[in-house]
């Protein structure tokens, strides 16, 4: 199933078609045989199960409720698949990762993959909770909105009610501390896996005598320091003309060289 953010190049017609298809499915569910048993007392409870099932399936497949979580699926990351997941995906075809790494490194990667799978399982229970609450809410509020003349306007009103219930249930769950912690852990674990994969890749590029990411970053940091010094010297030279004091900038190449500082968040 597709959601807009599973596409790198967004196509509004495709996103619209996907949403319209799901609207169509929803209407069919509203009119499914199970619901017919509700009778004149307007007890729509038999709808809750099918609605929740349909909704939960969408939540799981689209992972729309958490792009960061999708990173937790290292087998199929996409452009919208969470922090770093797109890059992780690009490692797929290379002979890298757990299979190509030394035994100890491989074990670390597999541990991370296993942890991700575990967290995904925990996430699924949240999707289930959201789906069931939304369906129950919807059934409880159907009241006068349901059973009217079968017009497109009425269908859209039902849909509006359904979306309200879905958003409310979603909001109630995703604000909980355990959900927030889970989300953070998923993002962190997937980032750790990506960093681990990069580490394997660095081992490989070093074997071919190629510069590694860390080395390029260190060069960049040096360059940045040099630019900063140059700017300060330039300012000092300008200010020198007006008699201002020179800043304490050490000329390049003299004295003890300072190791470039590793950037920190």
């Amino acid at each position: 199933m597709e959601t807009p953010f599973t596409h790198a190049a967004f196509k509004p017609d495709a996103a619209f078609t996907g949403a319209a298809e799901r609207f169509f499915e929803l209407l069919k569910t509203f009119g499914m045989p199970g619901a017919a048993a509700a009778g004149a007392d307007r007890d729509w409870s038999s709808l809750a199960g099918p609605l929740a099932g349909q909704f939960e399936q969408w939540l799981k497949s689209s992972q729309s409720a958490g792009p960061w979580f999708a990173a937790a699926n290292p087998a199929a990351p996409g452009p919208g698949a969470g922090v770093g997941a797109a890059q992780a995906g690009s490692f797929g075809p290379l002979p890298l990762g757990a299979g190509a790494a030394p035994q100890q490194d491989a074990q670390r990667s597999w541990d991370l993959v296993a942890r991700l799978a575990q967290l995904q399982g925990q996430l699924a229970s949240h999707w289930g909770e959201i789906a069931n609450t939304a369906a129950r809410r919807f059934v409880a509020r159907l009241g006068a909105t349901a059973g009217g003349a079968p017009t497109l306007d009425n269908a859209l009103k039902l849909y509006e009610l359904w979306v309200n219930c879905a958003e409310e249930s979603y909001a109630a769950t995703v604000r909980k501390d355990d959900f927030c912690r889970l989300q953070a852990e998923l993002a962190n674990t997937s980032a750790a896996l990506l960093v681990e994969q990069r580490r394997h890749a660095e081992t490989l590029v070093r074997a071919f005598g190629l510069p590694s990411r860390n080395e390029v970053d260190a060069l960049y940091a040096q360059l940045k320091d040099l630019r900063r010094q140059l700017a300060e010297l330039t300012d000092a030279a300008r200010a020198g003309g007006s008699g201002a004091q020179r800043p304490a900038v050490r000329p390049a190449g003299k004295g003890r060289r300072k190791r470039p500082r590793r950037p920190r968040a």
Binding site: D13, A36, V83, A155, A166, A265
Partner: protein, 353 residues
């Protein structure tokens, strides 16, 4: 009885026709143009480009007016402020005879992984300010900071107050720990060191994050609403322009994003007064110039409380805060905002020239 009759064949037939019709119309308008005002690049630093909007023939810049620098967020493209002639804050400012500049942060690539907030604020934003002041003369300009760009503008103003005459902020969070801030709750437990080491973050990831704050409305409902039959061709074009903007987000430089998450979302340093940029403490109390703070009352990304908190921290005696009854994106493009917001900004600035 059923909530919706399964044998309502006429409805399903109508729905099928409307879906096909809407798809065809969406495809027709898919190539609709975005951005409407002429501009030229006047300065650059790294991937950042400073643009100057060309004055309108019917409204040349008025003498003695300070230029306005628009500082947009790093996480979105700034063309939303100039989307189309009738939805363009930039156009309204030009029509008021103001000289308008805009910072486009560009697309950071792997060479920019270590670009940090100090770079963005001091070198890119500061460089833009210095370039404009060098060009126009005068000691100060007016700054219009939008969303995250408003945060950067607040930092710059606090550090270089003499260069900013008036500050306007739009949907700008100051207190990142208000209870209604879902985004803040979600990122509170992120390991920013890991985030930084895992590299630049693709724009699609942040898009997904923002959409997932309200996934059913933002990824389903808004499309289904097109079936209501009220969408004429122009409305559909407006819709596609917005879609294009929403899904056209630049990647984020790893270090700057990690710093932003940690310093602002996790540690709330701006509000707590513990933020340091370039070795200097950012004290919002140093902001003594007039401030106009506009925020959305239905904002799901920057809750109104997060933005309204600004008044408690800045040192300005001339503060005007105003909540607008719309959502985050509505602040830039809704019909209501298209009139109300530029009018407020222009009259507020005119009173302080």
């Amino acid at each position: 009885m059923r909530p919706f009759a399964p044998d309502a064949e006429a409805v399903f037939a109508e729905l099928t026709v409307r879906i096909a019709d809407t798809v065809a119309r969406l495809r027709e308008v898919q190539g609709v143009a975005v951005g409407c005002s002429a501009k030229r690049a006047v300065w650059s630093c790294g991937k950042t480009t400073l643009y100057q909007y060309l004055p309108l023939a019917q409204a040349p810049p008025r003498a003695g007016r300070r230029p306005v620098l628009v500082c947009f967020a790093l996480v979105n493209r700034p063309y939303v402020l100039d989307l189309q002639p009738d939805r363009s804050l930039v156009r309204r400012l030009l029509e008021a005879g103001l000289a308008v500049y805009l910072i486009d942060w560009g697309d950071p690539d792997d060479a920019d992984r270590c670009v940090d907030l100090d770079d963005y604020i001091e070198r890119h934003l500061g460089g833009s300010v210095r370039h404009i002041l060098g060009n126009h003369g005068g000691e100060a300009l007016d700054v219009l900071g939008v969303c995250q760009g408003g945060v950067l503008s607040l930092c710059y103003t606090a550090l270089h107050g003499k260069q900013v005459a008036n500050l306007v902020t739009l949907t700008t969070p100051v207190d990142f720990h208000t209870p209604d801030n879902l985004l803040s709750k979600w990122v509170r437990g992120l390991d920013t060191e890991l985030l930084m080491r895992s590299g630049n973050v693709p724009g699609e990831v942040l898009n997904g994050l923002f959409l997932s704050l309200s996934p059913f409305r933002l990824t389903q409902h808004k499309y289904v609403r097109l079936l209501s039959g009220n969408s004429d061709q122009r409305a559909l074009e407006d819709f596609v322009r917005m879609e294009r903007w929403i899904f056209d987000s630049p990647p984020q430089a790893a270090l700057a994003l990690a710093q932003f998450v940690r310093w602002f979302y996790q540690e709330n340093r701006l509000a707590r007064g513990t933020l340091r940029i370039g070795g200097r403490r950012v004290d919002l109390g140093e902001i003594r110039q007039p401030v106009l703070n506009l925020y959305a009352l239905e904002d799901h990304i920057v809750p109104p409380d997060a933005a309204a908190a600004m008044q408690r921290y800045i040192g300005s005696a001339d503060y005007t805060g105003c909540g607008i009854d719309t959502g985050h994106i509505g602040m830039y493009v809704s019909r209501k905002a298209a009139h109300e917001i530029p009018a407020r900004i222009i009259s507020w600035l005119q009173e302080r020239q």
